[in-house]
Assembly symmetry: C2
Amino acid sequence: MAVQTVATTSNSTVDLGPAAALSCRECGHRVPLGPVFACEECFGPLEIAYDFSAYDTEELRARIEAGPANIWRYAPLLPVPADVAEKPNINPGWTKLVKADNLAGELGVTGGLYIKDDSGNPTHSFKDRVVAQALEAARAFGFTTLSCSSTGNLAGAVGAAAARAGFRSCVFIPHDLEQGKVVMAAVYGGELVGIQGNYDDVNRFCSELIGDPAGEGWGFVNVNLRPYYAEGSKTLAYEICEQLGWRLPDQIVVPIASGSQLTKIDKGLQELIKLGLVEDRPYKIFGAQAEGCSPVSAAFKAGHDVVRPQKPNTIAKSLAIGNPADGPYVLDIARRTGGAVEDVTDPEVVDAIKLLARTEGIFAETAGGVTVGVTRKLIENGVLDPALTTVVLNTGDGLKTLDAVAGTGLTATIRPNLESFREAGLA
Amino acid sequence: MAVQTVATTSNSTVDLGPAAALSCRECGHRVPLGPVFACEECFGPLEIAYDFSAYDTEELRARIEAGPANIWRYAPLLPVPADVAEKPNINPGWTKLVKADNLAGELGVTGGLYIKDDSGNPTHSFKDRVVAQALEAARAFGFTTLSCSSTGNLAGAVGAAAARAGFRSCVFIPHDLEQGKVVMAAVYGGELVGIQGNYDDVNRFCSELIGDPAGEGWGFVNVNLRPYYAEGSKTLAYEICEQLGWRLPDQIVVPIASGSQLTKIDKGLQELIKLGLVEDRPYKIFGAQAEGCSPVSAAFKAGHDVVRPQKPNTIAKSLAIGNPADGPYVLDIARRTGGAVEDVTDPEVVDAIKLLARTEGIFAETAGGVTVGVTRKLIENGVLDPALTTVVLNTGDGLKTLDAVAGTGLTATIRPNLESFREAGLA
């Protein structure tokens, strides 16, 4: 694989706010900000290193609270320029934190149960958060094409963001994707290229393209812009705490695909503690997978530190990454915080989608069925404490995975008169 | 038709905030607040009459600005109790007002073009605004079942709101509705009853049920709760002005189904002027229809004051009301404000959906294609002034009308290698 590990774009004019450098998660080696994602020393993943030293806690809090109703209220804590809110972007975030009292009643949670409902984002999934971030990095590095490999949510998020920001977009998908998903991605008018092969072939091709002159000027949001992209997930942690009144939740249930989101939520919570924006108290992070793609859950239960890849087979396609890059970090966080990683079967996912819709009027994607289903299972098994404040993530929208609940239908069929209405027992 | 015109529920304990009474739009006859919708004197439509006399302008503005990021920030101007934000509801509104500079460039608008994007609501259409309102009225009147007739968006909005608020829901739809729409409505777990007949049969049956003892305790959001329900559309006017910095837009383009939304937006703008929250300046309201269901546009162009019913035949199904109840009021408002009513063909609707997606990353329902298409046509015809500030409504989500753009697809198909990539001219 031709992996570009050194920036080809000079960063002398790069303004990404408090982002100071890229730092290797494994060996700590630092490099200047640039479109790179792997350490040149040890091939470990690069992360953003910040300089937050100038912030006064209460000034920062006031600045955030006076900010826009989207992720850019947290611009002082993200790798974006200070005037980011003025630039064309899709401005995701500040989605609802729904107090789920009906669901709490059904699950026996007494300490307060909340759904962080990211279906409220512009293209109705949490991917808007990370893509908005990658877009700002692409702008800073002078890229003109925004790209990704995708099988669903990411394609729409990239297409929409690129359209709004005036970037060309070129999204690569397996050529035989369902027609509905193709339409959702194609409507934004960018290039949508079908690759004759499976998702692994698509990814392999994208890595090749990044290393080739043909890929010059291309920002692949989840490859060469990954360090910036991934930071978008921190905003979930920021929003949850601010919406709870600048307070850490006791327990948080997060879906696991690559595992990146969970690790960044932990990073976000740690930053809020260090900045003094929340009181330093223990919190537990729980990871949720579908049984048909549960490599991290399997490793957690077996007490392993490494994750053995699986071949995914689940309806929760947005979580179907069989070899999750951040799996070991997830295991570490779940163990360190006293959390756990659990999985549920596909029928349990469908049940949980219906349970959430029936109790709270929230129609979740399969990934939301996974987190709600895992929450129920963890309570039943005595692992999650129902007396503590618990936040469950819904990262996508049920309209995008209608097939999962296709069995749902009419409860009665009647003739248009009162007699038929009474016969059906509806009165 | 058995129409209940007098309240059967005592309103001695009804607290609906500033709502003082129901008043007939035609003859001015007033009746106490109750679940009635037609004047007992002249059968004209009943509207909410308010008492806003106690408000100090700047205190009111400050109270609104300190309110929640949803429609309840305007509770002092709506028929809801002061503590409405504490009650379980789906809390719609405060959706994005997107400055659409790319679209403005394509359409030649120089005075500022904005999309009010109501796809950001909980069930992704503006119907959440009106249902949230009807739910509060249902609660005040002691109803326990929330109901409606629907062919789409409304069913989901009622199902979700009822679920969250702990109401029983019973939604009536034509029995042969497309499976996708049935699933979207059924997932919330309420009663979903298919009526053997067309949408007119469904409506006729609902009116029968309201007049029957079997319908006791049932709030039909768009029938016996209609005066309250309709007020939800005022919040679009409030939000647009507040998001413009407490300023009236010069021009606003609104879709027409029953016409209720357009009349309530006008009412909302007038209230803001009277309350001193915005400067009193001229504004123009434009109505948008699909050619396949354009009774109001036809009447406007013919110079008529009444609307001749049509049999709808358009892809813009959420606007397909052939005999719009508020048609005459819409004609009056368009003429009084110096606006117009225009229509576009189904292919123009599809083009406009793609134009909005390509320029702004917003994937609109067909109704949004109608407003954007009509905006373009009005500019081309010299009716809408491109030098003035213009707001265009998108009232729904493209994910719900995927069929309209089903022709959209892959721009290329390649093998997973660089040679094939170059051959396709993508480099």
